[in-house]
């Protein structure tokens, strides 16, 4: 027995290498840089077929007939499926409201809706066969905006709705509506010295994750199916897939395959059920990979919005009241719209103290593309508008926009419009101070090198459209407020299974969760948590699948908080059990086993005084400790449907941005020079990843500001730009430098004090860029993205 007769000392404070707070490198990094990491589109099975989806070419129509005979007769085609082939009475799915048909029946409600499926031996065969399916549509009038949706004689997008929101909406073409009334906005308005209002339009953004929707379904001998797929939440998919297939959940076995980004766009199902149906029908493995065109139809987008805001303030710069109305276009199916409405309304005031508010947010059913989750989730649209308003009010008062914000900034203890008290640090004024204090980039940097102008640094870049003649600079600020985790009473839990055993003489920990690693770095952090809690160098991350309990969604900035919390929780339980074994085996050898606070460090059991009592390898020998536990954060509650009051959120995150832009006023071209960010992350579990998340979120926000928009034809509700040629994404030439200042004010309620990181930077970067462009040009600019014609007045 390797009991240490005279306990050796190990250095106190020498944590096991690679624990929390360190910039540990990704465990999947090598696979990803060598091309060996298997993304869902890389899945391959001998003898597999390729699935293809036929999608509607019109936005709103009755389906008069579908003729699949020619497609079926095509050589190489194994199956053609339509609505009539669905095996059970359950033919719809949905995150909250099951209103989305697996395949259109009777009607199509948006351009690109799936109508039929083909499986064939080559992807091109499947595509060509699908083109031979004849569909006869009788077109219906399209509903595209609030006026057409809520007219008295409006066609109903979903006739005979019965979901639980229907009793609380003014019209069946409204998915959900949430007012928030607190104080008396009208009375408070009477105290205002200035009242400023504005109308804002927010365009439809796409997640544009690079790895297209894809996966492989393999039929199993027991009549079930194994599905390898890229998703954000395996168990949510499972809950929606199994009933449509008519299978019990344990016969649909899901494994996460490599995810090429998500950003909310993989919360809803895409090809999951389709691939399973084709596999079960043909008895062969079926792979579906969307191309980019199809990907634009295969997932929900960020809700475009119209926002009307009014703020009042006294002469000395205190906000008196706020009124707003936010109309989100949810498109043809509900997806996450109800929760997006909840966020947009409850966060509509932003990180400011305003006691008297009158808020209304609603989401419409229209025949536009369905909208749902995307990074920032309802808070992004509101932030764009309230931050524009802050600048307007400040200007009206003749105050500095940052000082005005700081004067009204919320802090710990502030009451939100929902009546909820913010019970953790809320360093809004401090973040603004930090971002303002960063040194500004040099003026006219294309000249400052001293030599001749490098056109690459100018608006228009390599297009060589200016040499600086009409170029003006502007600086703008914004700050935002985002909730972390699922709100409004949702049972937001996660599960982690942690196993410790001795392999090859070394203690090894395996962490098994169903968490979707979508690039955010959860796998890195789970290993760091296990090392910290269990003092073991070797940590293996088990592939994510449905053989362990749900981890909840990789969204809402919640995954490190909740699944990280679950891993920590399970590790603590493992530690207790390991210590029990140790006490049982060695407790009589040293009194510290009974009296001291014991830790696991460096592969040993150690007292809090730094005395090593035993090697973990000797404690465990050939025993394994294996524990699976669920973990929940503090409960939240639903918002009152009339007043919006309620403790709806569990945590908040805050980011502030300063944008510096240069605008070629002659051509209307914008170059973002720098986007500085300050964000409070509570505790940076992996500083390198945290900064990477902040920079990535910042650029997605910049994309909204200056280029990204899905353009939907208002007459036909058809998508005009479903390609990377026409949907503009920031390239490395379009992006600025992004200095990041990370603040760590612990939230005492969260594991390690951490704060969800991923979304907040997407909120504030858009309004900061807009503010900078306004500052440069003096234009009002109430719409995203800013197009050249808005800047040149053409």
């Amino acid at each position: 027995m390797g009991v240490t007769g005279s306990p050796t000392s190990i250095n106190q404070g020498t944590r096991t290498k690679g624990g929390i707070g360190e910039s540990t490198l990704r465990p999947d990094g090598i696979l990803k840089v060598t091309g060996e990491f298997a993304y869902s589109s890389d899945m391959w099975h001998e003898d597999m077929l390729w699935g293809h989806t036929l999608r509607s070419t019109v936005a709103h129509a009755e389906i008069v007939s579908i003729d699949t005979s020619e497609a079926l007769a095509t050589s190489g085609v194994y199956a053609v499926l339509t609505y009539d082939d669905l095996p059970t009475a359950v033919k719809n799915y949905g995150l909250e409201i099951q209103d989305t048909p697996v395949l259109a029946h009777g009607k199509v409600r948006h351009h690109g809706e799936p109508v039929a499926l083909v499986a064939a031996d080559h992807p091109e065969t499947a595509r060509r066969a699908a083109a031979k399916i004849r569909i006869d549509y009788r077109e219906l009038p399209v509903i595209t905006d609030e006026a057409s949706a809520t007219a008295d004689d409006a066609v109903l997008v979903h006739e005979g709705r019965t979901d639980h929101h229907i009793g609380h909406v003014a019209h069946p073409n409204i998915v959900h509506r949430q007012p928030i009334i607190r104080g008396d906005a009208e009375a408070a308005k009477a105290r205002a010295d200035v009242v400023v209002s504005g109308e804002y339009v927010f365009g439809m953004q796409d997640q544009a994750f690079l790895g297209p929707e894809s996966g492989l379904a393999v039929p199993a001998e027991d009549g079930g199916v194994d599905l390898y797929v890229a998703t954000q939440w395996l168990h949510s998919d499972l809950r929606q897939i199994a009933p449509v297939l008519g299978l019990p959940e344990d016969k649909v076995r899901m494994t996460l395959s490599g995810v090429g980004g998500a950003f909310g766009g993989r919360e809803d199902l895409s090809m999951q059920i389709h691939a399973c149906l084709l596999a079960l029908r043909t008895g062969k493995p079926v792979k579906i990979v969307y191309n980019r065109f199809e990907s634009f139809f295969g997932h929900v987008h960020r809700h475009p919005a119209k926002l009307w805001y009014e703020h009042g303030a006294t002469r000395d710069g205190k906000l008196t009241h706020m009124k707003c109305r936010i109309v989100l276009d949810g498109g043809a199916y509900a997806s996450a719209s109800p929760a997006v409405v909840g966020n947009a309304s409850s966060l509509a005031v932003g990180p400011y103290v305003v006691e008297d508010v009158d808020i209304e947010a609603l989401a419409l059913y229209t025949n536009n593309p369905p909208c749902g989750a995307m990074r920032g989730f309802g808070a992004v649209q509101a932030c764009f508008a309230y931050e524009a308003q802050m600048d307007k009010v400040a200007a009206e008062l003749g105050m500095d926009p940052v000082e005005f914000r700081q004067l009204n900034a919320m802090e710990q203890g502030t009451l939100l419009p929902t009546g909820q008290r913010v019970d953790s640090p809320a360093p809004v004024a401090e973040l603004l101070r930090r971002v303002k204090a960063m040194p500004l980039p040099p003026e006219r940097q294309w000249e400052s090198a001293g030599e001749q102008a490098d056109v690459r640094a100018l608006p228009g870049g390599l297009s060589n459209t200016t040499h600086g003649e009409g170029v003006v600079r502007g600086v703008g600020y914004a700050v935002g407020l985002k909730n972390v985790g699922f709100s409004e009473g949702f049972d937001d839990y996660s599960t982690a299974r942690v196993r410790m055993e001795v392999i090859g003489g070394e203690p090894v920990v395996t962490v098994h969760t169903a968490m979707a690693e979508v690039g955010q770095g959860g796998v890195t952090v789970h290993a760091q948590i296990a090392r910290t809690e269990l003092g073991v160098a070797q940590v293996t991350i088990h592939p994510a699948d449905t053989r362990v309990g749900s981890a909840g969604s990789t969204s809402a900035s919640r995954q490190t908080y909740v699944t990280g919390g679950a891993v920590k929780n399970s590790c603590e339980a493992v530690r207790e059990q390991v210590l029990d074994i140790g006490r049982r085996k060695f407790g009589t050898y040293h009194p510290a086993w009974a009296t001291a606070e014991l830790l696991l460090e460096g592969g040993k059991v150690v007292t809090d005084g730094g005395e090593a009592l035993a090697d973990l390898a000797d404690v465990l020998e050939d025993e394994a400790v294996d524990i699976e536990l669920e973990w929940r954060h503090r409960p939240t509650e639903a918002f009152d449907l009339r007043t919006g009051q309620g403790n709806g959120h569990v945590q908040y995150s805050f980011a502030a941005h300063r944008a510096v832009v240069e605008v070629d006023t002659e051509l209307g071209l914008v170059k973002v020079i720098e986007l500085a960010c300050a964000q409070d992350v509570g505790k940076a579990l992996n500083p390198l990843s945290v900064v990477g998340q902040i920079q990535g979120g910042t650029i997605q926000g910049m994309g909204i500001a200056v280029m990204e928009e899905i353009i939907v034809d208002p007459r036909t509700a058809k998508v005009r730009n479903p390609s990377f040629t026409d949907y503009l994404l920031p390239t490395i030439l379009d992006t600025p430098t992004i200095p990041v200042d990370v603040l760590e004010l612990a939230d005492d309620h969260a594991p390690y004090g951490l704060r969800g990181v991923g979304e907040a930077p997407t909120l504030s970067s858009t309004p900061a860029v807009l503010a900078a462009i306004r500052n440069a040009t003096g234009l009002e600019l109430n719409r995203t993205p800013v197009r050249p014609e808005y800047l040149t007045g053409t």
């Binding site: 490198l25 999947d28 696979l31 990803k32 060996e36 080559h122 790895g211 990477g692």
Partner: protein, 197 residues
């Protein structure tokens, strides 16, 4: 049709290639080299970037028949390609790729648990290691294409300015990182190369 070409230094023959198939499809689906990614199949994202006779191209835009008799380097062969370049052609490239190594060799590395281990064993090319160390990999879908493009940039321009890096990588979209850490990675690889000289 049949297509004969060299991938990562090893001769390959692909049979029954349909005339509309892209090089990307043949690499991924026929040769079992899925490292090159398909994110747009339209030449807009750069995820599928490979080198064709030394020149970075979007393999989604190259018809399979066009590579007859030519040399292709993919991300799977990047480490060996770079090692060979520094040994056999110091300071320059092996533009044809003709001096490459067998595919089996190119794929010989095992997945290691962390970047530090790999650095010790030196099995990654400098740019691959720099991407890991700088945190330039998130979801990683853009990574293979970026690596091939960045490696070619560093071969051509060992000390690139930021503007050079941005210009060279402007055909490669990344949705996750905001590009800052990708710039860091290229700068890091360039700095390490300079140190090594």
């Amino acid at each position: 049709m049949r297509v004969n070409f060299t991938v990562n230094g090893r001769r390959h023959e692909a049979d029954d290639v349909w005339e509309g198939e892209s090089l990307l499809y043949v690499l991924r689906e026929r040769m079992g080299l899925p490292g090159s990614k398909n994110a747009c199949e339209q030449g807009e994202c750069g995820s599928c970037t490979v080198r064709l006779d030394g020149v970075p191209v979007c393999s989604c835009l190259v018809a399979a028949g066009q590579v007859e008799g030519r040399e292709v380097i993919t991300v799977e062969g990047l480490a060996d390609f770079a090692a060979h370049r520094s040994e056999a052609h110091p300071g320059t490239g092996c533009a044809s790729g003709a001096c490459g190594t067998a595919l089996d060799e190119a794929r010989r590395w095992e997945a290691e648990p962390s970047g530090e281990d790999a650095r010790e064993t030196g099995e990654l090319s400098p740019i691959q290691q720099a991407f890991i160390d700088a945190g330039a990999v998130q979801c990683g879908f853009c990574t293979p294409g970026l690596l091939v493009a960045a490696d070619e940039l560093l071969e051509r321009t060992p000390e690139p300015s930021d503007a050079d890096i941005r210009e060279a990588l402007s055909g490669n979209l990344c949705r996750c990182t905001g590009y800052e850490k990708i710039l860091d990675a290229v700068r890091l690889a360039a700095a390490r190369a300079e140190e090594a000289v």
